[in-house]
């Protein structure tokens, strides 16, 4: 019994099974709500309003808007999944089930992120189907598309874990979303190109990480790109590394987890 344990794959899979079961207790909140919200965005901004807007680089406005709407929902799905799973575990104290079991901190984090990615991918598939109904879904590069969905899910999954470890009530749980995620995502180029902004404001877009996420997904779907080549990927991988290390550190010192 003294031998070093390998990866606890069954434990990891169990975290995913448990979270899948928890998410399916609230399917309307988890999946139907973002799909309906995306449908409204695509219909009103893309189809109704967009019908009166000239093409952008040869693409209809609804095709331009769809990647941004999709990214907004990926960010929300990832953040809500990770905050709710960690916070409810703390709130009902069943985080102790994993604390007393032979799961490493890395396995606990990966297990949480895996379900975050699953929820984001399911949310994305639904929105792609809705976009298809409007003739707006295109796939310029499927691998790029997967990279952006998965990596952005990881970033907001990690942020969600950290917020859920810090929060002591439901009010605090929503603070990052209200003051940071929602404002930055809306000014990150969901509805407009950088060139539509007044010149003195364009630096705001380039300083906003959401711009790179939306721009990256837009390139993956319709081939439209406004950022310097490779910069978005660098920003994204850098954020994953920094947030991943910070989350691991919080787990290893037991912040918000152990008494």
């Amino acid at each position: 019994m003294t031998g070093r344990m390998g990866i606890n794959w069954i434990g990891l899979w169990t975290i995913i099974r448990r979270e899948w079961s928890r998410v399916w207790r609230v399917p309307i909140q988890a999946f139907l709500a973002p799909w309906i919200s995306a449908l409204m965005f695509i219909f009103i901004f893309g189809y109704v309003v967009g019908g009166n807007i000239r093409h952008i680089a040869g693409h209809r406005y609804v095709e331009f808007v769809l990647p941004g709407v999709l990214m907004l929902n990926v960010v929300n799905a990832a953040f809500l999944q990770s905050t709710s799973q960690i916070y409810f575990q703390r709130f009902l104290r069943y985080i102790e089930e994993t604390l007393v079991s032979p799961l490493s901190y890395v396995e606990m984090i990966i297990g949480s992120l895996a379900m975050t990615i699953v929820r984001s991918v399911v949310t994305s598939l639904g929105i792609l189907v809705i976009g298809y109904a409007f003739g707006a879904t295109h796939m310029y590069n499927i691998f790029e598309f997967l990279f952006w969905i998965v990596s952005v899910s990881i970033i907001f999954g990690l942020l969600g874990i950290m917020i859920a470890l810090w929060a002591n009530n439901f009010e605090q749980l929503t603070m990052l979303n209200v003051f940071f995620i929602a404002p930055l995502s809306f000014v990150g180029g969901v509805f407009n190109t950088v060139s539509m902004l007044p010149p003195f404001m364009r630096w705001i877009a380039y300083a906003n990480p959401f711009f790179y996420f939306i721009n990256g997904l837009r390139h993956a779907m319709i081939g439209f790109n406004e950022a310097p080549e490779g910069l978005g990927v660098l920003v994204t991988l850098g954020l994953i590394a920094v947030l991943g290390l910070a989350t691991w550190r919080l787990f290893s010192i037991g912040y918000g987890l152990r008494e």
Partner: protein, 253 residues
């Protein structure tokens, strides 16, 4: 690991909570493998904190804890594989079903599906939970909830079972049944650490007893040593915890 390696070895354990409260101070004790060990003490004495330090729910401020010779902090994954914990408070997803709660715990401990299913079925039957297997935890009575917690602690067949007030709030029938089952598990070789406020429970089940007060072990030894004075365990307990021994207690020997 030799035959003499203690199931639990604690050396100079100190636990200070973030607010500065010292919950455990310089606590040292050893529990022999196969022992049925009673851990007594008043509320707030440090019993649950000690258990939380052993199992990883709480961080250790200083000191050393070994489980069958394995460092419970440095090699925590290996150490935890050998421990089954039934905590004092219900720490479960209250919307999950009885089967899910036990099955998921087996999963965290790396049990393969076939083995897990067999253990879950056996424990559901053993704790008379068959009729409630598909019910959510929140729908169960207090006694049934306690059974689920015990079944969960046993799903990975641990060598060391830690039971923090397992019979608090349960009816006499379950208490007697549980006592029989614990004795059976102990005969099979499992080491059991039991905390309880029911002295008759400790007296009936345990072979070794330790009393903790204000975060320190104030008395420890074989059960028989606690019955050499008039009033037996109750008097010994009251004397060790600094409470006055009344005539009623002293005369109850």
């Amino acid at each position: 690991m030799t035959a003499a390696t203690p199931a639990i070895s604690i050396e100079h354990l100190r636990k200070v909570y973030r607010g500065g409260t010292v919950a455990v101070e310089d606590l040292s004790m050893q529990i022999a493998p196969g022992d049925f060990f009673g851990f007594l003490g008043p509320n707030g004495a440090g019993k649950s904190t000690t258990i939380h330090c052993i199992t990883g729910i709480a961080t250790v401020t200083s000191g050393k804890i070994e489980i069958f010779g394995i460092d419970a902090v440095k090699d925590y994954r290996e150490a935890r594989r050998m421990i089954g914990l039934s905590p004092q408070e219900f720490n479960v997803d209250t919307f999950a079903t009885v089967t899910q709660i036990i099955d998921w715990m087996g999963g965290y401990f790396g049990l393969r599906e076939a083995e897990r299913k067999s253990r879950v079925d056996m424990l559901i039957q053993r704790f008379d939970l068959t009729a409630h297997a598909k019910k959510q935890f929140r729908e169960l009575s207090g006694g049934l909830k306690r059974r689920v917690i015990l079944a969960r602690a046993l799903v990975h067949d641990p060598k060391l079972l830690i039971l923090d007030e397992p019979t608090a709030g349960v009816d006499v029938e379950l208490r007697l049944d549980l006592w029989r089952y614990l004795q059976e598990l102990n005969r099979e070789g499992k080491t059991i650490l039991l905390t309880s406020h029911y002295l008759e429970e400790i007296e009936r089940l345990c072979r070794t007893i330790a009393i903790i007060a204000a975060g320190k072990i104030v008395r420890q030894g074989p059960k028989e040593e606690f019955f050499t004075v008039p009033g037996g365990l109750e008097s010994a307990y009251l004397a060790a915890t600094g409470k006055p021994v009344t005539h009623a207690a002293a005369g109850a020997a």
